[in-house]
């Protein structure tokens, strides 16, 4: 018995109600959409608030890893919270070309690891830098690029980004994956690291006022409950808010929360797509999202129904 032939004969091609062209167009549209999600476009320093980002992003906690700003276990170095001063004892893996600064204020808002417009790598206190790759995208000085493996609150993240000489830049962040090596992931981000392939600010967020890279909460294991990160206070939360299928389908985990951080009230939409993809979070200041959580949800549902939304 040739089991290979027997198995091959044991079932046919199956029902096919879609044309190949339809399938391909759908795939390409989905692929384009997902590529855009990976883009993180940081505007010039003067427009730092307008951060347009794509979706596989799971960035580190706003406010650092520990309430005191003290390093986590294994932290190679840290300077006290305060002015942006170079780390006196940089991590052993830090290449000579990268200057690391650590403080609460000098990075991109809410991001634990970021490349500042001045080309310095900002790492918030409490974030453990595991590895830095210097200029993986071969940017010419004064432009610079970097890729970083870092850990925060027990989770490993990957960062890859660049800053251009015109003060623009882009970056991608996500939880470390097991099926792809860090080096391969860096290569995969290459299409978004070229100036000609970076989407203009705002093009991917559908006029969404929030910040994808500002993570204030995280999913509690495999549940649809959200845990506030350090220095964040949970006001209220709801599981599976049903913002729309383009945000999260029935198979995806999702949640919405109202939190406060450093005296500001935020709404956070969170989702973890089915299939093991990393969780995604988008934070919207209450001033921009509506007076109540219900008002914010109405706003979000409307935006997603219109084809917009911060996490497309």
């Amino acid at each position: 018995m040739d089991i290979r032939d027997e198995i091959d004969r044991s079932f046919g091609p199956g029902p096919d109600t879609r044309t190949v062209d339809d399938e391909l167009q759908g795939l390409l549209a989905s692929g384009h959409r997902n590529l855009r999600r990976r883009r993180v476009v940081a505007g010039a320093a003067a427009a730092a608030a307008a951060v347009a980002i794509g979706g596989t992003t799971v960035l580190a906690a706003a406010g650092g890893g520990s309430p005191s700003g003290a390093p986590l276990a294994g932290e190679p170095s840290a300077t006290p919270t305060g002015a942006a001063t170079p780390s006196p004892t940089p991590p052993a893996s830090k290449p000579a070309g990268i200057t690391v600064v650590r403080d609460q204020e000098a990075g991109m808002m809410g991001m634990s690891v970021s490349l500042r417009p001045d080309g310095k790598l900002h790492v918030e206190p409490g974030v453990q830098v595991v590895r830095i790759v210097d200029n993986p995208y071969h940017r010419k000085a004064p432009s610079i690029s970097a890729a970083v493996v870092y850990r925060q609150q027990g989770t490993t993240y990957w960062f890859a980004g660049y800053v251009d000489k015109n003060m623009g830049g882009g970056s991608a962040n996500q939880e470390a994956m097991t099926e792809v090596s860090f080096r391969d992931w860096i290569d995969e981000q290459a299409p978004i690291q070229g100036k000609d392939q970076v989407a203009p600010p705002g093009s991917d967020v559908g006029d969404w006022p929030g910040m994808v890279d500002m993570q204030l909460v995280r999913f509690d294991g495999d549940t649809e409950r959200l845990q506030p990160l350090d220095a964040v206070t949970m006001v209220q939360q709801r599981p599976h808010p049903e913002v729309g299928d383009s945000f999260a389908g029935a198979d995806d985990r999702s949640a919405v929360a109202e939190v406060t951080f450093e005296g500001t009230r935020y709404y956070v939409l969170a989702r973890r797509p089915a299939g093991g993809a990393p969780a995604q979070y988008i934070a919207v200041k209450a001033d921009d999202g509506g007076p109540t959580l219900d008002a914010f949800l109405d706003f979000a549902r409307q935006r997603y129904a219109e084809g917009g939304g911060g996490l497309l």
Binding site: I3, I7, S10, P13, E188, D222, A250, G276
Partner: protein, 163 residues
């Protein structure tokens, strides 16, 4: 920007979609689920296309995603335990009409999940023991034991079918 990527990706999908769909069906025994798996895998492939295409590993990459995604689905309990969440409106499990599904395929679908995957990868797709172990993230000894038990079951089904 995406012209070359789209073009080569489209060529690959055109050529291999039917085969990938059959792999997914052999793994999960449901054409709707198979379509979902292939769709998910191809979108991931699109994102990784420059690297994977350069290395000539397109089909292996998709196959791995299909197999592991299905593994992940089976291992994730929250889908069924999240009381109060909307029920997934998925069509009923759709296989071939009874007369078109052979006893062998029925027996294949009745195998425990990992045995079925081992048989599909090892004895239908022709992967080596080491490759199968790598794909499923299990030990080679486990591959061998699943393989021998699965094959014995299938041989029994074939014998019964021909009596």
């Amino acid at each position: 920007m995406s012209g070359a990527r789209d073009s080569t990706f489209t060529q690959f999908v055109d050529a291999r979609r039917a085969h990938l769909r059959r792999i997914a069906y052999a793994i999960c025994g449901d054409w709707h689920r198979a379509d979902d798996l292939v769709q998910t895998a191809l979108v991931k492939l699109y994102l990784a296309w420059p690297r994977v295409h350069r290395d000539g590993r397109e089909e292996a990459y998709v196959r791995t995603i299909i197999v592991r995604a299905d593994v992940d689905e089976h291992r994730r309990p929250w889908r069924r335990e999240s009381a109060g969440l909307p029920v997934v409106d998925r069509p009923a499990r759709e296989g071939l009409p009874v007369e078109e599904r052979s006893a062998l395929f029925e027996a294949l679908q009745e195998l425990p999940e990992m045995q079925r995957k081992v048989v599909v990868l090892r004895h239908w797709l022709g992967l080596s023991v080491a490759e199968t172990a790598e794909e499923l993230r299990i030990g080679q000894g486990t591959v061998k034991s699943h393989s021998s038990r699965g094959l014995a079951t299938l041989q029994g089904a074939l014998t019964d079918d021909r009596l």
